[in-house]
């Protein structure tokens, strides 16, 4: 399977990364190299094998379902590029 520049553009859009139209053919070529390498996986017989979900056979710990943290508005906003009146500020999202 070969990736066309249009597919590369679609993937870039899904990944929310702006890619200039003139850079798309080179990007598509890189994807093709990497995916060509990955295609080797098709040689493996995976019949009846479950996809791995956890590398160590143990149950994940669960904590009690209670509030155990909070009241950290200032700390949470401290690194925001644009914070106003206790909120993260972003460009207009609703017309």
């Amino acid at each position: 399977m070969s990736i066309e520049p249009e597919t590369a553009a679609r993937v870039a859009k899904l990944a929310r990364i702006k890619v200039a139209p003139e850079a798309l053919p080179a990007l598509a070529a890189e994807f093709n190299t990497i995916l060509g390498f990955i295609e080797q996986l098709n040689e493996v017989d995976v019949e009846g094998i479950e996809p791995m979900t956890s590398v160590t056979p143990m149950r994940l710990k669960r904590r009690a379902d209670v509030v155990n943290d909070g009241d950290r508005q200032a700390q949470i906003l401290k690194n925001a590029p644009d914070a106003r009146e206790g909120f993260f500020a972003v460009p207009k999202v609703v017309e």
């Binding site: 993937v11 990944a15 990364i17 390498f37 996986l41 493996v44 996809p51 710990k61 993260f88 999202v93």
Partner: protein
């Protein structure tokens, strides 16, 4: 070079406890070395005031006789660890200016034990790279040189490896997703261990591929690795994948006695086109373990060949999800937007400006393999192959193998810029011997074992049973004793 900075953790600890030297003296000696080593570009954020305050506090503890093993020992910390109030940007532009409001569990545990942090260490951006050439801070230079050529220290923990090899600090933290501790350790002639998945808490470490990432120590000796690993690991309720298991005294397990241990030599690791020097190193290492009383057995790990392709589906898939958080809203860089731009344009411009080329490529590959219509063909298939790779190891260990010996890397350190025109897959081949260990969640350690004909260090890798880092470290200790690697790079920086 200051004699104090050349000390191992174990030697420095003993001198501190004997009051032959103070932590402030050790720390000042390291800070002086760091100041003179700008050419290596290993330390990228300096924290001398904090370091000296920590050293004074450690000296006070030592005076009271309350001194855990790491108390007063100055180390460097990879930029991937969030350190409270200290820049922690994973060598990425997108986290420029980010000052964490919290401390990673691993660094907190080290500080609780009295460890001194000298500063933050360079690395590949978001730990994605094998040569430290993807860093927003620029390349790290390997302290080992050949004919004046600048070499890579490896990656992604390249700054950690260079700093330890150049005696700028006594040890450093690293992280390893596909070989990022073991490959740079091998390229710089130091020891690096990636523990079993779940040994070290991942909380507060900038995530790359969460099912593969593990922290570990990078040190001058195996004994130091045992000492520092003990301080780094342990159960943490803040990481649900962290194992609730007791941490043994790893150092106490270093007897050097490996008589009767069974060492597996996997035939699939004898790659086509493997340099003769690597073959010889591997054969020499095998002989050393045999001479130390171990039984050598040839083994088969039939799915080895598929580890790299499986990794280059799983790791980018997880990265594309983990790195979705860098959107210019909550922290880090936000692009300037133009009139009429909405939030989508802000995301797209921010991520295009903030992420370097390799990170963008991996995020997009991950996005592709997870996208509708390809999820089963790529992602699920890769996870099935991963299950088979783990099964290969399970079967070998069940047959009585205690540890597996392999080369750590397919070559010695290569020149910076040498891989510039190579396609991305060629760079990925650096991890061919290490990546299986992450996919199977096992502990693996790189030990310096010899030199190539140019006079560059080469490393061997030992792979152990899950949770048996103590036994693995002991086998590594026996190998270290037998190999007797003591070479240091000539100081040119």
């Amino acid at each position: 070079m200051s004699d104090l900075t050349r000390l191992t953790l174990a030697e420095a600890r003993d001198k501190l406890r004997a009051r032959d030297v103070s932590s402030v003296e050790l720390t000042e000696a390291c800070l002086t070395e760091i100041k003179g080593a700008g050419a290596l570009n290993a330390f990228v954020h300096h924290t001398p005031e904090t370091a000296l305050a920590q050293a004074r506090a450690a000296d006070a503890r030592l005076a009271q006789g309350d001194a855990p093993a790491m108390c007063g020992l100055p180390i460097g910390v990879k930029d991937l660890f969030c350190t409270k109030g200290v820049p922690s940007q994973a060598a990425s532009r997108i986290l420029e200016g980010f000052l964490p409001e919290y401390e990673s569990t691993v660094t907190q545990q080290l500080f609780d034990a009295g460890t001194v942090m000298l500063g933050k260490l360079n690395m590949d951006e978001f730990a994605m790279g094998s040569s430290n050439e993807t860093s927003a801070y620029g390349n790290v230079i390997n302290p080992w040189k050949v004919d004046g050529r600048e070499l890579t220290p490896g990656g992604s923990s390249g700054g950690s490896a260079a700093a330890v090899a150049a005696d700028l600090c006594l040890a450093a933290t690293g992280t390893d997703t596909g070989g990022s501790i073991r490959q740079p350790a091998a390229f710089t002639g130091i020891v690096g261990i990636k523990p079993t998945y779940g040994r070290c808490s991942r909380w507060g470490i900038v995530a790359f591929a969460s099912s593969l990432d593990q922290a570990g120590p990078m040190t001058k000796t195996v004994r130091d690795a045992a000492i520092m690993l003990g301080a780094m690991c342990g159960h943490d309720p803040k990481d649900s994948t962290s194992a609730d298991l007791a941490v043994p005294d790893f150092e106490a397990m270093l007897t050097g006695d490996i008589r009767g241990k069974v060492i597996g030599i996997p035939r699939e690791y004898r790659m086509e086109g493997m340099p003769a020097e690597i073959e010889k190193l591997w054969a020499d290492g095998t002989d050393m373990l045999k001479a130390a009383g171990a039984e050598i057995r040839e083994i088969s790990l039939p799915h080895t060949k598929y580890a790299l392709p499986a990794y280059y589906v799983i790791a980018p898939a997880e990265a594309s999800s983990n790195l979705a958080r860098y959107d210019g809203v909550r922290y880090g860089h936000r692009a300037k937007i133009s009139q009429g731009d909405g939030i989508t344009e802000m995301y797209e411009k921010t991520r295009a400006e903030g992420f370097g080329h390799e990170v963008q490529r991996r995020v997009m590959v991950g996005t592709y393999v997870l996208s509708a219509g390809f999820y089963d063909a790529y992602y699920n298939r890769a996870r099935k192959v991963r299950a088979l790779i783990k099964r290969d190891f399970d079967e070998v260990f069940a047959s009585g193998i205690d540890a597996i010996l392999t080369p750590a890397t397919p070559s010695a350190a290569f020149g910076l810029g040498e891989m510039k025109d190579a396609d991305p897959v060629e760079m990925y081949l650096n991890d061919v011997f290490t990546v299986t260990v992450n996919l199977a969640g096992l502990p693996g350690i790189a030990v310096p074992a010899g030199m190539d004909s140019q006079g560059l260090p080469l490393g061997l890798q030992l792979i152990g049973r899950p949770w048996e880092e103590g036994d693995l470290l002991n086998t590594a200790y026996a190998l270290e004793q037998a190999a007797g690697f003591v070479a240091k790079p000539d100081k040119w920086w």
